[in-house]
């Protein structure tokens, strides 16, 4: 395991690796999402109470999972960046933030579209909605902070520090529905005593979740490649400039 970390620590090696892996993750993503969409739109039962609106769940729930998952992986990578000074960890953490922010926005928007027919309101200030909204603001603050540094090495490190400060929001989001009485329903898939969701709804949900996960992987790889190319371009530019003089 350590060998893999050390092998990929070299930026140019990581770039080659990501260029090779990227088409496969993209392919897996398309397979899972198209299968999941077919299941969720045509091959799953409508809810006995909510009717057809339940199909929003197959986008909303995976997006909300990914919003937290991306932040969790950013936190782990920030620890790697700050404790072991892994040269790629802060880049990975920096490049995850825009993807995580998009997932959070998708979860918020689909949730509010789903809330109108089922709860009768677009938005309530309950614990789950508020804490996810705060997560979105933390993501946006992170992106703004990283961009405001002129030196992108420093910016990525600063982003890693900020990620760790914001990480306390994660357990609040996860357990907000258990700790407070909220309008949002409590967890029904990731529970200690097994899921309470029917298998026909579980299959499309899992497929979509896997599709979103591979969406994250593919776009993370693209973002990291762009970042590494930018850094290399800057280095080449400085080199050519010093050689010309």
């Amino acid at each position: 395991m350590q060998n893999i970390f050390n092998f990929l620590a070299n930026p140019s090696r990581f770039r080659l690796f990501s260029q090779k892996v990227y088409p496969y993750t993209l392919f897996i993503m398309f397979t899972f999402i198209s299968l999941g969409l077919w299941y969720s739109l045509f091959n799953s039962p409508p809810d006995y109470q909510q009717g057809e609106t339940v199909r929003i769940m197959y986008v909303h729930v995976p997006a909300a999972w990914m919003a937290m998952m991306v932040y969790l992986s950013m936190t782990i990578m920030s620890v790697f960046a700050l404790v072991w000074r892994h040269p790629l960890a802060d880049i990975l953490s920096k490049c995850s933030a825009p993807i995580g922010a998009s997932f959070t926005l998708i979860a918020l928007v689909t949730g509010s579209i789903w809330g109108k027919p089922t709860w009768g309101t677009w938005w309530v200030w309950d614990a789950r909605l508020t804490s996810v909204f705060i997560l979105f603001l933390i993501y946006m603050g992170h992106i703004t902070l990283v961009r405001s540094f002129e030196d992108e090495y420093k910016g990525a490190r600063a982003g890693a520090i900020l990620t760790l400060i914001g990480a306390f929001n994660l357990p609040i989001i996860k357990f907000s529905v258990d700790w407070w009485n909220t309008l949002h329903q409590p967890a029904s898939v990731i529970k200690l005593d097994g899921p309470t969701i029917h298998i026909d709804m579980m299959i499309p949900l899992i497929l979509m979740a896997l599709g979103f996960l591979f969406f994250y992987f593919s776009f993370l790889l693209i973002n990291v490649q762009t970042e590494l190319n930018n850094r290399k371009l800057k280095k080449l530019f400085i080199q050519s400039f010093s050689e010309a003089n």
Partner: protein, 221 residues
């Protein structure tokens, strides 16, 4: 330990001399509270229901305003570097600076709050829960804001950006603090919120010195 006290005394001395803006932050606290009755009407029932929240919002903003300069002046004139060279660990310096910041901006807010609660129309029998939440919450606000304040030193510019980064991080403290007061007034009992508020303080006390000193070192690189 002696150096730790010396540093706190130095910071307090700077505040008394007027070369820091802790006094301005306190004045801002008073002004921000006055905004609420002026903007949302002066009916007694309305004021009672928003009193706790408005005091908390004012406390948060005044702490936010002074946090931007928590490390900045010392960072820019080089005295922070000299302190590190004198053999004090940067983590200790961060804690002592946060403590001095709380003593000069947080503690006056806590002491003034019962009087202001009277003005704004909070029932006087709830002064203890207001003071308790502020006493637990204002040090957390200082500690949570310390790392972004240190990061803003590393960028070299502060202002709106610092506020933008700090505010979302402070929101849970605000929610718990004002939630405790409204839960107590509605008869549910505010101690559930207060326990959570009390948990944030030691966690941030442990995590913040390391992260803030990492951020300050980033500025020196």
């Amino acid at each position: 330990m002696k150096k730790f006290y010396r540093l706190i005394l130095r910071d307090i001395h700077l505040v008394i001399k007027g070369s820091s803006d802790a006094g301005a932050a306190l004045l801002f606290y008073l002004l921000a509270i006055i905004m609420f009755p002026l903007s949302s009407g002066t009916e007694a029932t309305l004021l009672t229901s928003i009193a706790g929240g408005s005091i908390w919002v004012a406390a948060l903003f005044s702490s936010l305003l002074s946090l931007d300069r928590l490390f900045r002046s010392d960072f820019e004139d080089g005295s922070l570097e000299q302190l590190v060279l004198s053999g004090m660990s940067l983590e200790t310096i961060v804690i002592s600076k946060c403590f001095a910041h709380w003593l000069t901006t947080g503690l006056p807010i806590v002491i003034l709050s019962p009087v202001l609660a009277l003005i704004i129309g909070l029932d006087f029998s709830y002064w203890w829960i207001l003071c308790l939440t502020l006493l637990l919450g204002t040090p957390s606000l200082t500690l949570i804001g310390a790392t972004p304040a240190a990061l803003s030193c590393a960028i070299g510019k502060g202002g709106v950006l610092t506020a933008l980064i700090i505010l979302p991080l402070m929101l849970p403290v605000l929610i718990l603090g004002s939630g405790a007061i409204s839960a107590e007034i509605s008869g549910l009992g505010g101690f559930g919120h207060i326990y959570a508020l009390a948990a944030i303080l030691p966690i941030s006390l442990v995590a913040v010195p390391f992260l803030a000193s990492k951020a300050l070192r980033l500025g020196w690189e």
